[in-house]
């Protein structure tokens, strides 16, 4: 069992959990992910790593209540444990000294961008982070991101903090300041990553995205997570999750995310019904 040693609510429905998983913590690198299962009847879901502590043997994950399993996870407390916690999975980010880089995190995507930004800064890059959320109260990990960035630009859809608009508006602000950008990492919802990629394509700036398709095993044995990159089928769990954003077929990836929409809604509705009945 993998025990939760620390929990912090970052915003409404968004929880940070520090979990005991020494073997994973010993090996994980920025850009990798874990697969977790809550209990005996649970499903396997992929979660990106926000932080790790090799000495303490812990992995920190950030989860937003968006579906059946994530709803359960966000209500778990310190002392509770995951049945299964597998990792590190996927290929680590290619961290080296590129010069000036931009790390874009949208919504929950700020969590996985955090160790990448920290790694890039430690490698000698000038790191400009662009953080986006719907509103100021939903913006997570701002302090942590400031600690691993040279500059931070915030964009909120409603303008309650930073630039009013999307992360692409935040990126426009960075570009307008005349930086010569060597590479961009963008992590967030697929629509956001697609928007960033379409924005940088004509500018010819290398843009790396972290794909978050449906996964089952996370070790390359099923192909549930397959996506199309440069017209070739790739398994995001073993070939990625990071890919050259300009080669990814986002329309296909977004359609595939909807594969189990009906079932997800059914499971979530059942969970809420349980809550109201006081069974959970």
């Amino acid at each position: 069992m993998y025990r939760i040693v620390k929990k912090r609510l970052l915003a409404q429905g968004i929880a940070l959990l520090e979990v005991e998983a020494a073997a994973v913590a010993a090996k994980v690198e920025p850009g990798q992910f874990v697969i977790v299962r809550v209990d005996e009847v649970g499903e396997r879901i992929p979660l990106t790593v926000m932080d790790y502590n090799r000495e303490k043997g812990t992995i920190t994950i950030v989860v937003q209540d968006v579906g059946y399993s994530s709803a359960i996870i966000t209500t778990m407390n310190e002392g509770d444990a995951f049945q299964d916690f597998v990792g590190p999975l996927g290929v680590a980010s290619e961290i080296e000294n590129y010069g000036t880089v931009v790390c874009i995190g949208g919504g929950l995507g700020i969590a996985p961008i955090h160790p990448i930004a920290r790694g890039l800064k430690a490698a000698g890059n000038h790191v400009i982070s662009v953080l986006g959320s719907r509103s100021a109260d939903l913006l997570i990990l701002e302090e942590e991101m400031r600690a691993v960035s040279n500059e931070v630009v915030i964009a909120t859809n409603d303008g309650s903090a930073g630039v009013k608009g999307f992360v692409t508006d935040g990126l426009a602000k960075v570009l307008s300041e005349g930086h010569k950008i060597a590479a961009i990492w963008a992590i967030g919802p697929m629509v956001m990553m697609k928007a960033v990629v379409e924005y940088t394509r004509p500018l010819g700036i290398k843009t790396i995205v972290s794909m978050n398709p449906i996964m089952v095993d996370g070790t390359g044995m099923c192909g549930a997570c397959r996506i199309s990159v440069g017209n070739e089928t790739k398994f995001a769990c073993v070939d990625g999750p990071e890919f050259d954003g300009h080669l990814v077929d986002f329309d296909l990836a977004m359609k595939r995310l909807a594969f189990y929409k009906d079932e997800e809604n059914r499971a979530k509705a059942r969970l809420e019904c349980h809550h109201e009945g006081g069974h959970h």
């Binding site: 994973v24 049945q83 089952v216 549930a224 397959r226 909807a258 059942r270």
Partner: protein, 463 residues
Amino acid sequence: MAANKIPRHEMPCQDSKARAHNFEEVALGYTKEMAVEEAQRCLQCKKPLCRTGCPVEVLIPDFIKQIAEENFEEASKVLKIKNSLPAICGRVCPQESQCESKCILGIKGEPVAIGRLERFAADYGMKSKKAEMEKTEPSGKRVAIIGAGPAGLACAGDLAKAGHAVTIFEALHVAGGVLMYGIPQFRLPKDIVQTEIDTLKQMGVEILTNQVVGKVTSVDELMANGYDAVFIGTGAGLPYFMNIPGENLNGVYSANEFLTRTNLMKGYKFPDYATPVKVGKNVAVLGAGNVAMDSARTALRLGAENVYIIYRRSRDEMPARKEELEHAEEEGIQFRLLTNPVSIEGDERGWVKSLTCLRYELGEPDASGRRAPVPIAGSEFEIEMDTVVVAIGQGPNPLVTTSTPGLELNKRGNIVADPETLMTSKSGVFAGGDIVTGAATVILAMGAGKKAAAGIDAYLKTK
């Protein structure tokens, strides 16, 4: 009456109409009376040819003799001398091409039902719960096994019997490999697999789940961390796709994903179990091996109305076990033979709506004597379809091999191992099962696991 005049006992089965809608085991197993009568058919040959057909050389006449004499407990013990997992083998081995194909009674009549008797004895032994194990003197040597599938489990059982301390590293959250995620409940109940695995644990085998070797640790690290030998039994878990247009549409599964969702994650019990799996009205399964039969029969049980097996050769070339093929037919699976898909069409939302196929004919025999399927020009036709399961085979998963420098592979990515000892190009590192041979059968993997255990034992004695 002479033994060869008694007819072979049929296997009692669930009614085909009822079973097509449940996940309960199809074959119900012999009663004591049936088992004794069937066992009495065995001629107790002095030179039992049946044993030469068994990849793990089970003491076949000996355990059958015990059944004939109604010493069922003893029968199960005799079985276990050579086979650590008999309840599984009795169910999934292709006996018609192994032990039973060599039975002398098969020349003029029907061979002894060795597999059914094995299953009977193993199930009896399991229920009697007197599986006491003789304690072996510990050798002081430690062996790491990568992968808890049939090869790894068989290897672990024999090494534990030889007194070695065995630790299995398994990537998934349960041990069993294809026995748990691949072969469906209706053919191999999961509690039976679990009981066999628990017996190994009682013998002292340690099983660590959630350990992805290649990521969380590596072969070299295991060797550096005090393991005296390593056995790689990681199987053939990389699904092949057809590489035809439309394969990434919603509704297209690899058989591995479809079966994993249903079996390992118990998707057939959704929403009591959280993993969904869905099929539409019309399901096409591409391929005709055992994995294709399992997928087709699973789709039917999940509620599909029409399930088609689509295969470019003819019935005679189908690689599936005869019994599985017959069961599939009885349950109403429809066969579209000499047919091969060229593309999958989708709707505007990205969901499968039809399959375009070409009709084939068998051409002249090639150099190997096999008649090659040849497409018939202009024979294209379209079938409406909601779900497609691709079951055309699997390759070796590269996670372990690519993280192990110095490990010799062949051009298909399989590990090269010495045919006698199963040692790889790295000293002290052994490999067996599908990762060496490519996708084969459960019992061949178990045979390889046993062979490797002998190779490892001999190697450890030289150290």
